[in-house]
Symmetry: C2
DNA sequence: ACAGTTGTTGCACAGCAGTGCAAGTTTGTC
DNA sequence: GACAAACTTGCACTGCTGTGCAACAACTGT
């Protein structure tokens, strides 16, 4: 029982301690760390010396309390280990940090119920903004967020809610273009490989592709073998390519699906790409550019989107309620030119 | 100028507003949202009703101010779009959220200088703990963090600093085993594909492999073509396989390197794997299990590590200063059994 | 030397929530 | 009905910082 201190909670050093050591008032300390405040060079120097000595760092929690701006931006995301989501989080954290924000990542772990909990955290921590990358947030909570002065940004959602801002990829235009490209490559039996996830992006791509094909008078096979991932893509290949009337042009709504599809097509069905079969993907994840794949796909301008989001938080009035970004074709070798 | 309100800063609703609406004291509101506090069922109900009506959410910033525990855990990470880092961040956020923590991700964007800035943010936001996944934090700042009562956890670093806790993968044991496995597969000309990044993990794997081979009397070619990634792996293959005395057993210190190496070996050099050449990787990223690769590699127990980290933050006294996790072989088809 | 200007500093309060303490209320028991 | 015990409730203070205001010092120009 020599050290009976049960909780060695070393309370972190505060401004008043610095003031004491520096021999000035607490206000002086505060002003030293506030841009544009009036402090004489001498006191400033004394404060900085004391702060350095004690290891003082302004408490942003307390600062946020006063300013009504915590500096925190929440990112609500699921499946963040997948290439596209991971790239997005990476880009977003970078852009937001550049603007002086700090990013809180709320992982919904795929369970829709957790989206609500995440949104609650967003309110608890008085985040300045919330970016919903995946999942469908309950409308009422979104409204609560906005009423509390929070910015809400929904990525690739087309809900008709008043209040939040939307950032959208032009999925329809891209899917339509995919159909055009495959037809121009001479494909006559088209298929779209989708997933059972049913997120707005995926549905939009799938639907637009089917619509475009039907407008051209071509019937399309739609296959959804499971969740959005490599394994489902491979499984779709097994289902689509085993039949008699196998497709010769396939649009996969996601690169991961496309890679699984490609591997199964080449390895299990010994098909030559693009001679026997043209394949297009979506997202342009890193693996799409690997030697073994060389996948023709669509690139989402992730960096631009991230910059745009960070920029939105800068101007008070908020900017447009909707912002659209194009997805551009990245030509590689899984489609005949 | 109809709406001259320049700043529509809707200040978020506070406990006193709820108290007013509910017709009780502010303390009652506070107690309603504090576990184990004494409130009668009636007042509790009144408070909850008012809170729901107003959309009240406890301000965790203010709460953290009193409790000296913000609930925030910082994750300092670089290159988080790469498969392994992304998986780690995913697992960590999940485990920490399960324990009631909230994760702040600080992206150092690869620049070592940013590690320092990130550590400062950690102090500014009074994080309860900081997990350094990548980058070498300045020793003095780490000490400041610890003096301020913060937990610091370094992943895969072997610095001799007193204070932080370490979580390590048994890189040496795995690399040694890799050497054994390749030799047992009949490989006689070994090489290790590494990177110029020079992070502790990579150096440890590389060094241990070379040591193990030398102990067995085999010389090893070491190749570092660039940063840790697919392209470098492919480039290493070009450099190593073009020579006369080409290796027949290669240990890549990272799966990404291995996949690049494999693709280049198969496509550009038309080598058969594992007949002509055995390849091992490290990390067991998702792509390692894809049909086209089927890479024999080592799995890092990411989920266990994440759980362990989250657990460490639960017990006051902190637990052991070092914790080691094994990396287990995942047998697939790039090595002869 | 004096009035006026400019710059610095400290006081005191605000912002939000948790909690010890004392006063108040209800319940229980004999 | 009296008294103790148990529970509720509000007050007032705490934690940490930013800032308006007033007091103060220094400096300028005449």
């Amino acid at each position: 029982m020599a050290k009976a201190k049960l909780r060695p909670k070393k309370s972190s050093v505060s401004a008043s301690k610095v003031a004491e050591v520096a021999g000035v008032s607490r206000s002086a300390v505060s002003r030293t760390f506030t841009d544009g405040a009036s402090v004489s060079p001498e006191t400033r120097a004394k404060v900085l010396a004391a702060a350095e000595k004690l290891g003082y760092h302004v408490n942003h929690l307390a600062r946020g309390l006063i300013h009504h701006r915590s500096g925190i931006v929440c990112l609500i995301v699921a499946e963040m280990q997948t290439p596209f989501q991971a790239s997005f989080v990476e880009a977003a954290t970078r852009s937001l940090q550049d603007k002086g924000k700090v990013v809180m990542v709320l992982n919904t772990a795929g369970k829709p119920a957790n989206v609500e909990a995440a949104l609650r955290q967003t309110l608890n921590y008085r985040a300045e903004a919330t970016v919903v990358v995946s999942g469908a947030p309950p409308r009422s909570l979104v409204e609560t967020c906005i009423e509390n002065g929070q910015r809400v940004i929904l990525i690739n959602r087309n809900d008709a809610i008043e209040g939040p801002q939307f950032v959208m990829i032009e999925n329809e235009a891209a899917a339509t273009e995919a159909c055009f490209i495959l037809r121009r490559a001479g494909c006559t039996r088209l298929a779209v490989v989708s997933s059972t996830a049913g997120t707005p992006s995926i549905v939009a791509r799938e639907t637009a592709f089917v619509d475009a094909a039907q407008a051209a008078g071509i019937e399309v096979l739609v296959n959804r073998a499971g969740p959005t991932g490599y394994a489902s893509g491979a499984e779709s290949a097994r289902q689509l390519l085993a039949g008699a009337n196998r497709p010769d042009g396939v649009f996969c709504v996601t690169d991961l699906l496309a890679l699984g599809f490609l591997d199964a097509a080449r390895i299990e069905f010994r098909l030559r790409i693009p001679e026997d079969l043209c394949v297009m993907g979506f997202d342009d994840i890193a693996a799409a550019g690997w030697l073994g794949y060389d996948l023709t796909t669509f690139r989402q301008p992730i960096a631009e989107i991230a910059d745009h989001i960070a920029g939105m938080l800068e101007d008070e009035d908020g900017g447009p309620a909707q912002m659209h970004f194009p997805a551009r074709v990245v030509w590689r070798r899984t489609v005949r030119p």
